[in-house]
Symmetry: C2
Subunit: 434 residues, 2 copies
Amino acid sequence: MPVRPVSWSKLDAAARTALLSRPGAAADAATRRAVGDILERVKRDGDAALRELGVRYDGVDLDDIAVSEAERRAATAAMPRDTLAAIDRAIANVRRFHEAQLPQPITVETMPGVRCERVSHPIDAVGLYVPAGTAPLPSAAVMLAVPAAIAGCPTRILCTPPRRDGSADPAVLCAAGRAGVSTIFKLGGAQAIAAMAFGTASVPAVDKIFGPGNAFVTAAKSMVSADPDGAAIDMPAGPSEVLVIADGGANPAFVAADLLAQAEHGSDSQVVLLTDDQRLAALVVEQLQTQREGLSRRRIVSAALEHARIIVVDSLVTAVAVSNRYAPEHLILQSDDARALLPSIRNAGSVFIGPWTPESVGDYCSGTNHVLPTNGYARSYSGLGVDQFLRQMTVQELTRDGLSSLRDTVSALAGLEGLDAHAAAVTVRLESRQ
Amino acid sequence: MPVRPVSWSKLDAAARTALLSRPGAAADAATRRAVGDILERVKRDGDAALRELGVRYDGVDLDDIAVSEAERRAATAAMPRDTLAAIDRAIANVRRFHEAQLPQPITVETMPGVRCERVSHPIDAVGLYVPAGTAPLPSAAVMLAVPAAIAGCPTRILCTPPRRDGSADPAVLCAAGRAGVSTIFKLGGAQAIAAMAFGTASVPAVDKIFGPGNAFVTAAKSMVSADPDGAAIDMPAGPSEVLVIADGGANPAFVAADLLAQAEHGSDSQVVLLTDDQRLAALVVEQLQTQREGLSRRRIVSAALEHARIIVVDSLVTAVAVSNRYAPEHLILQSDDARALLPSIRNAGSVFIGPWTPESVGDYCSGTNHVLPTNGYARSYSGLGVDQFLRQMTVQELTRDGLSSLRDTVSALAGLEGLDAHAAAVTVRLESRQ
C-alpha cells in the first residue's frame, strides 16, 4: 500500500529528520567480512580464485572469462534493429553532452615571468562494472563507456556477471562495444572489483573503478579504494532515489508514473513527493494504485512504495528547502514555471524540469549521465562526467626574473615555517653564476 | 649519508620495483583503533570530548576552542610587514591561478527539444585542516582557503592545533583571515577531523574536509569518508615526494638544493633523482653533502636522504618512463629544453620546468596548489583545485516533441532492462490529453 500523505508543518524536528532519513548505507560487518575474504583470495590466487568464486556465486565454471570477439559479434548479430538504433541514439546523445565537458588547458601568468598551467590527462586504465541484478543494464555500459572513451583512457575494461549458460548479456556486450569498450570479462560481484583493483593473469589492474552494484560490489569498491595497492573509485553508492516537487497544476498521472519508475528499480528505492497541494497528493496516491496494476515488477514496486514519502508542504519554497536538505539523486520539478525554481536548487544529482521530462529520459538517453550521487552525497559529490576519467596536472615555469621577484616571498614564508632549504633552493639559484 | 647512485639498466624487474616502492601508506591497526576511539568519543560527547582530548594530545585545557576576533587581530598586528606582504603575494598569485579554474556552465541541445545542462554549485560547508607538526604551516592555510573562497562555499571553517600556551599560531591565523576564513578552531589531530565530520555544539558539521596531516589525521579522514554520517575528503595522503629528472647540463647545486628542500619536510620524505649522466649524479651527491651542512633541519634531512634514490638511466626517455611509473607528487625537469619533455609526462601532481623553477615556489607562491596526490595517487587523482570545492549538477528539460522523439529509444532500452514503468513514464505523458 502506498503511504498516506503527511503534513510537514505538523511534524516536529525529530519527526522531520526521521522522515528524511535513509536506510543505513554502510555495509554490515558480515558483508564486509565476506567481501574482505573475497578480496584477499583474488589478491592471492588470481584467476584460480576468480574461477572458484564464479562457480560459487554465479553458478558457472568458465574456462575463459574474457568475452571472445566471436561472442561479441554474435551478440550484435542477434540484436533487433530497433534495439541497435536505441543503443546508438543513447550513445550519440550521451556523447554529445559529455564531449562538451572536456576541459580546456589553462595558462595564467600570475606575475611577469611566473607561468602556471593546468593540463589534463586521461587516467591510464579504468575498469567499468555493469551489474546484472534483476535485469541486464546495457544503459549502464553506455553511461560508463562513453565518457571513458571521450576522456581517452587508453585501457578501458568492463566486467559484467556471466549468465547461468556462461554467456554474457548480449545487450550489454553490444552497448559496450558500440560505446568503445572491447575488453570485457564475465565477472561479477566483489570478485570483479578485486580483479580490476589488483589485477590477475587475465584481468589487467586498473587505476580507477566505476559503476553501480549491489551491497557486495559497493563494499568491495569502498575497501579497494582505501587500500594503497587498490584502485580509486567513482563515488560511494546507495539505493536509487527520486524526489518530485509538484504543485496543484501538475498532472497526477505524470507524477505517479515517475514515482513508479523509481520504485521499480528495487524494493529499497527511495521515493519522495513534495507538494503544496493536498488534492494533488490524494490524486497521485490514486494514480499510484491504478498505474501499478499493469506493471510487471508490481511486487518490487509495492515494496518500495511501503516506505515512500508523500509530504504536503505549505509552499514550493519549503519544498525546495526540504529537497536541498534531502539532497536527492534525481529531482523532478513539475510546477508552474518549474525552471524558475532551478536557481534555488543546491543539492541534487540531476534535475528534470517540467511536464515532458520524466526521469527515464535521463536514465537512458537525454544525454546526461545516470551515475549520480545517492544517499545525500549530492551535497559533496558530482554525478559522473568526463572529469572523473581525467586528472588535472599543474605545471609552472619561471624565468630568472620571475624567480627573483618571488625571492622575498619564499624567504619570508620559509622563515615562518622553519624550512631553510626551501629558501636556499631559491637563493642558491639566484646567487649562482649560471 | 646520501645514498649512492644505482644504475637502472643493471637492475632486474624485482629490484626496479623495490627501488620505486614507497613505505606503506596504510595506517597500522593500532593507529586505526586509536583513531576509531577518538571518532566515537567526539561523535558521542561532542565538545566535552574535544576538551579532554586537547588536554591529552595538545597539553592544553581550553575553555573556548574558537579563535576570538581579538586573537585574530592581535596576530595580524604582531606580524612584521614583510611577512604580511609575503602572505598577500602568495594569496594574490594562488587566487589568480585558481580563479581561472572556475568552470563555465554548459548547455547542449543533444537533439531538437532535448536540452541538457551542467551547472556548478559550491559545497555548502567545507572544513580545512592546517597541521602544526614540526612547524606552523601558514602556506597550507592559503592553499586551502583561497580555492574555497573562489568556489564560494558559504561555510568555511579551519582547524589548527593549539600551542602549549593555548594560542593558535599567529601566522596561520593571519594567512587564513586574509584568505577569507574567519571561523577558526584550536583543534588538532583526529579529534579535529571528527569534530568537522560529525559536528559538535561549537563546531559545525561540514560536507567535505580538506588538508594534510599526520598519520592520525590521515586515518581519521579515511575513516570519516567511509562513514555515511561523516564527510567527504579531498584525497588520500602520504609522505611528500619529489622526483627530479636532470641531464648533464643541469646545475648540480640547483638539483641538490631541490632534493634537500624535499628532504627537510620529514624523515619519511621521498627524494628521487633520475639522470642520464653519471658525472652529474656524483656532483649532486657532493652538493648534497656540502649544502646540507648549513641547514637547521640537518637531522631530518639526513634521515630522509638515507632512503633517497639516485638512479642513473640510459636516456631521458627512460627517465620519463620511470617517472610515469613512479607518479611523483612533484616532478622537476632540469634538462636541456625541459619543456620538450612535458608532453610525455603523464603521471605527476605538479611539474616544475627548467633551472629557475624550484619546488619551493610551488609550495608557496607561484600560484599552483601545493596540496597534491602522493604515494602514486597521481595516477588517479588530481591536485587540489577549485573543482574540488564545487559539485556539478546536471539538468534536462524536454519539450513534448523532444520527448516524443525519444519515445522509441526509452521503450527499447526499458524493454531490454525489464523496466516497464520507465517506458510508461513516457507513454503516459504522450498519450495524455494535457
